[in-house]
């Protein structure tokens, strides 16, 4: 059984990466590449609404329907509402589904409450203009009206928020309305950070937060305790006095599976925690079975965030450990782990090595705008093209990335070198292929062989443990 490769996510015009025209060849075009569909590996995968038979308007239908169970009575016609969004949603399936959900949430608030002062506040990671780029490319500035759609960054003016653990700080513009609506998605993405604990709440401690708060998360509260940062802010009287409801693009490794909305963010959080552990848990555990490979980065995102089968490269770099297992303090990669690498190696014996299955990394297309030298320092990395190397060299967060990586003239020469140096013919491509994963034939065989056993282990052994660790009873959470 051999499927053709899936068409990868297109390169994007962005100041954080090379111009799309400079991405002259995608890894999916390499000889011997094939794809494995996730529904084939895991027939219990939920059906995707997008991509599928319908265009992106299917997201509108599902958003309208999900919002029917949400109470909006607190919003008065003369009041103001901030729809709070994050960059991450725009990286999913090209961004159109998330943009459509945002438009629909806006329209439904207006239709149901008569409120017209509805704004978009879109937070970022560490690329402070990233959501400004998305706002423009999806026409959200025109859709929300002049001056109403705004990208916000953690270095913008802040406000103090009093919480149960002391003062934390939010971005002023996020909270400058009578009401806020939390518009996010359930894609798990950074499991190495959030460990699927309070995943739905996280933006309150991250993309809606000031530097002080984000630094608290990544430096003060520990690899698991950090996840309390967001809950502390969300549970504060200040945020509770403004929070109206949440709307989430419901994601699974296969794509968008629906829209979930609730006035109770914790209830929504429990639902998506279960689904995330179950579906992403299987794929991540399966990728942990890969014994050796060349990883190719080929997606419009910073190095750690390029996607394959809904899993990001940062998580593949830690796939030799169980990222969902909270009894394990430090994954192979997370910022606390990185912090605990001393001048002469790890400060603790217990720090696991970066996934030894990754024999080589070919950086065919990935952005700067996120500190990534950890990866090039520990995984032999070939960067395709001098222009891409220059992007990393000019990036204040990646001054040392190229000190550890080599430059290849083009993708073919990079792959030739990678095969010769690593001795493996297994290739995994992080290119955002929808519904499946682009791999070499040899790796496709391994994934098919291992998938059923991994599925049984996750359902029977790991999932119950993961949920117990998070205090979630699936019977109660799913009603």
């Amino acid at each position: 059984m051999s499927n053709p490769p899936i068409i990868p996510a297109l390169p994007r015009v962005s100041q954080y990466g090379v111009a799309p025209g400079q991405v002259t060849k995608r890894a999916a075009e390499l000889p011997g590449m094939t794809s494995v569909m996730l529904a084939e590996l895991y027939p219990d995968s939920p059906p995707a609404i997008y991509p599928g038979a319908e265009d992106v308007s299917v997201v509108r239908k599902h958003t309208v329907s999900a919002l029917k169970k949400v109470n909006m009575d607190m919003i008065g016609p003369e009041q103001s509402v901030n729809i709070c969004a994050s960059h991450h949603g725009f990286t999913l399936l090209g961004g159109a589904p998330y943009a459509e959900m945002l438009r629909t949430v806006r329209d439904e608030i207006e239709n149901r409450t008569g409120c017209r002062n509805i704004r978009l506040r879109a937070g970022v990671g560490l690329r402070f203009r990233e959501t400004e780029e998305y706002i423009k490319s999806f026409g959200l500035d025109a859709y929300f009206g002049k001056g109403k759609a705004k990208g916000v960054a953690p270095i913008d003016e802040g406000i103090p928020i009093e919480t149960e653990i002391g003062t934390l700080y939010g971005i002023k513009a996020v909270y400058d309305a009578d009401w806020i609506v939390h518009a996010h998605n359930s894609d798990v993405r950074e499991v190495h950070f959030h460990r699927q604990v309070d995943r739905a709440v996280k933006p309150f401690g991250m993309s809606y937060a000031r530097i002080e708060t984000r630094s608290t998360y990544h430096q003060n509260l520990g690899p698991r305790g950090a996840n309390f940062t967001a809950r502390a802010i969300f549970a504060s009287d200040f945020v509770q006095s403004k929070f109206a409801f949440a709307a989430f693009l419901d994601m699974s490794p296969v794509g968008v599976i629906g829209v979930d909305a609730d006035n109770d963010l914790y209830a929504l959080n429990d639902r998506l925690t279960i689904a995330g552990c179950r579906h992403y848990g299987k794929i991540m555990t399966l990728l942990g079975e890969v014994d050796e490979c060349i990883a190719v980065l080929d997606f419009p995102c910073p190095v750690p965030y390029v996607f394959a089968a809904g899993v990001i490269y940062a998580n593949f770099a830690g796939a030799n450990t169980d990222l969902f297992d909270l009894d394990m303090a430090l994954p192979a990669y997370t910022w606390y782990t990185e912090a605990f690498y001393g001048r002469n190696g790890p400060l603790l014996e217990s720090i696991p090595p970066v996934n030894p299955a990754i024999k080589m990394c070919v950086h065919n297309y990935a952005w700067g705008g996120y500190p990534s030298a950890f990866f090039s320092e520990r995984i032999p990395t070939l960067v395709v093209g001098g222009e891409q190397a220059a992007v990393m060299d000019r990036d204040s967060q990646n001054v040392e990335y190229m000190a550890h990586a080599m430059i290849a003239k083009n993708l073919d020469s990079a792959m030739h070198f990678a095969h010769a140096a690593s001795g493996t013919d297994k290739i995994i491509v992080f290119d955002g292929a929808a519904g499946g994963i682009n791999v070499s034939t040899s790796l496709a065989g391994l994934l098919r062989e291992k998938a059923p056993g991994v599925g049984r282990r996750v359902d029977g052994e790991l999932l119950p443990k993961w949920l117990r660790q998070r205090g979630i009873d699936p019977m109660t959470a799913l009603g």
Binding site: L126, R127, R129, A153, P154, I155, D156, E157, G158, P160, I165, G166, L168, Y169, R195, V197, D198, R210, I211, E212, T213, R214, S215, T216, H218, Q219, N220, L221, G222, P223, R224, G225, N227, F228, R231, L326, A329, L330, W335, E338, A339, F340, Y341, G342, R343, N344, G345, P346, L347, L348, Y370, P371, R394, S396, Q397, N398, V399, E400, R470, G471
Partner: protein, 201 residues
């Protein structure tokens, strides 16, 4: 430590004088002269904040003819004090505090011992916060606190507002209320203690 290869340049004709760049610059390298922003080139360490947030895109980053490196080096007679300050602040001296520049705790301690009294001065002497400028403000404040220094935020600036809680300060009441949700507070406290105690550097 950071090697600086770029510097910020402001296009005065474009600048509308909003002052945002001056409020965000972590080394206080920008000041307003009348209604225009001006970069003190001797203090710019190319974090790109001004370039990234100027509302009219009036800032460019230009290549330096002569790149240079900023770092604070511990002198032999400072070694003991450096170690003590890091440990008091809850850090292993060899651990990384700034993920963009790989600036380590011992380097920040050395900068403080050698005279840095604010996060801005630490940044200027070590390169800490000169990448994303987001994630390492708390370690800078914690290290200053361990040195007995309480800095005040730059007046009218948004560079930073205050020190926030550390794990060890979370009350038993809060821990008991939330621990069953997977926060593992006490295990992480033990992990931090182990890192601080480690003799590896």
């Amino acid at each position: 430590m950071k090697t600086i290869t770029l510097k910020a340049r402001i296009n005065s004709a474009r600048c509308i004088g909003c002052g945002n760049c001056a409020k965000m610059c972590p080394t206080l390298a920008i000041f307003m002269k009348g209604k225009k922003a001006v970069v003190d080139e001797g203090r710019c360490l190319a974090c790109a904040n001004c370039h990234q947030r100027c509302p009219v895109e009036a800032v460019t980053l230009e290549k330096l003819d002569k790149p240079f490196t900023v770092r604070a080096v511990t002198r032999d007679f400072e070694r003991e004090a450096v170690e003590a300050m890091c440990i008091k602040a809850g850090f292993n001296p060899g651990q990384i505090l700034c993920y963009c520049t790989a600036t380590r705790a011992e380097e920040v301690a050395a900068a403080i011992i050698q005279g840095a009294e604010t996060p801005e001065e630490i940044s200027f002497r070590t390169g800490l916060r000169m990448g994303c400028s987001v994630e390492c403000i708390q370690p800078a404040l914690r290290m200053l606190e361990a040195a007995g220094i309480t800095p005040t935020p730059p007046e009218g600036g948004w560079q930073w507002y205050g020190r926030t809680p550390v794990l060890q300060e979370i009350s038993q009441e809060v821990k008991s209320k939330y621990n069953h949700r997977g926060f593992y507070f006490d295990s992480d406290i033990a992990l931090f203690a182990e890192v601080v105690k480690s003799e590896r550097r």
